[in-house]
């Protein structure tokens, strides 16, 4: 039996038929907590190990980006977007640059477009490495985290040579990119791809096929397709519930319409 974790308010009638029954435990998760990965305060009511009610208290990580950027120029905004999601700073820079270019009706040279897409995809891989490593760590498996970071390090070194920074790159700017690629870039990326292909089986063995991992995550937190759309889920949350929402496929930008790739969706919803 799967219980949906519903966001509820004080008015139980509207959202949730079950009230607090006896034996329910109300605990605080956060704001400082290793699993929240950034500050998030949740007041959770637990019935055994099932979450019955969640009340989030948000705002700890609200950085007033909108208000702050009212006094910045468009070029200065790139530095803020790097820090919005520091795991994938190229992607945020890119989206800001695209927005400004659309407003100014500026055409980006094709080489810059391809460089941007390359950087984006490398960042995506680095971000995903951290994601699954941290998720495994949250579930209790500490070792995969280091395996994940080993590959992330390789990507960060490639980035450092070309962009000058490992985390907040500020490389993609409105109009193109800051510098051309480093001469070693091509060789290093090809070596990395060959290395990574061989590592994926290792990750599968350690994490995906691990029986503890599967029993902890299978069927937990199920969101149906209608709920995912109604709640406005995007990204992996929506794709896990079979909602096709990859922006690279729906509204192709840069050279994505010339690239051949599959959008990954799953129907399990968990």
């Amino acid at each position: 039996m799967y219980r949906q974790t519903e966001i509820v308010t004080d008015d139980h009638k509207v959202f949730h038929e079950e009230g607090d029954s006896e034996g329910d435990l109300m605990i605080n998760v956060g704001p400082q907590h290793p699993s929240t990965h950034g500050v998030l305060h949740l007041v959770i009511t637990l019935h055994g190990e099932t979450i019955v009610k969640v009340e989030p208290h948000l705002g700890y990580i609200h950085r007033s980006i909108e208000k702050m950027c009212e006094s910045l120029s468009y070029r200065q905004f790139i530095y803020v977007t790097s820090r919005m999601d520091y795991l994938s700073s190229h992607i945020n820079n890119h989206s800001c640059a695209l927005c400004v270019e659309k407003g100014l009706q500026v055409e980006v040279p094709p080489r810059a477009q391809v460089i941007r897409v390359l950087m984006d995809e490398l960042t995506r891989m680095a971000s995903h490495q951290l994601w699954w490593g941290a998720m495994a760590m949250d579930v209790g498996a500490l070792t995969p985290f280091f395996h994940a970071f080993r590959e992330r390090e390789t990507i960060n070194e490639i980035m450092e040579e070309t962009c000058g920074a490992r985390l907040t790159m500020n490389y993609i700017v409105p109009g193109g990119v800051m510098y051309d690629l480093h001469p070693n870039f091509q060789k290093k990326v090809k070596d990395f791809i060959a290395l990574f292909n061989s590592k994926i089986d290792e990750y599968d063995e350690m994490v995906t096929n691990n029986v503890i991992f599967q029993s902890r995550l299978k069927g937990v937190g199920y969101i149906s397709k209608e709920d995912a759309v109604s709640y406005g889920c995007t990204g992996p949350t929506a794709r896990g519930s079979d909602v096709s929402c990859d922006v690279r496929k729906l509204f192709p930008y840069e050279v994505y319409d010339k690239l051949d790739f599959h959008e990954v969706t799953a129907t399990d919803g968990d």
Binding site: G59, S230, L250
Partner: protein, 149 residues
Amino acid sequence: MNNEELKIKLAELFPSASFEEGSEWLTMFTEAETWKEIAMQIRHKLAFDFLFCITCIDWKTHLTMVYHLRSTTQKHIAVIKAKLDRNDPQIATVSDIWRTAEFHEREAYDLFGVQFTDHPDLRRLFLTDEWNGYPLRKDYEDPINMIKL
């Protein structure tokens, strides 16, 4: 449906609405009073099931609520704007139509002061409950944290 067909359909359903030209997505202006019926109609008749953005813009003379909607089945996008009075901004909630609106409307209330009628739980989202003022408005003053250049 592309923008032209969508515009014809919307003009048919809501004869009093006006449209903005020149943007990539079809933009429709409505009155705040009629927003709830419009929302119900477009949700059910035109299959706009994905509300992907709610914002408020502070033009210094008035506020504008902006809703971005997409249809996951028919792949069209529309933007709906409703003008609000600055001194008493009120608009109907759509959190019963699109569940995502609940938190986004709380944010708009928190940062702009827009009152959403019939919202199930309208209170501040990011700031503490005792906070005075609405930070994202252009006339917000905060002598401690904001530096005037």
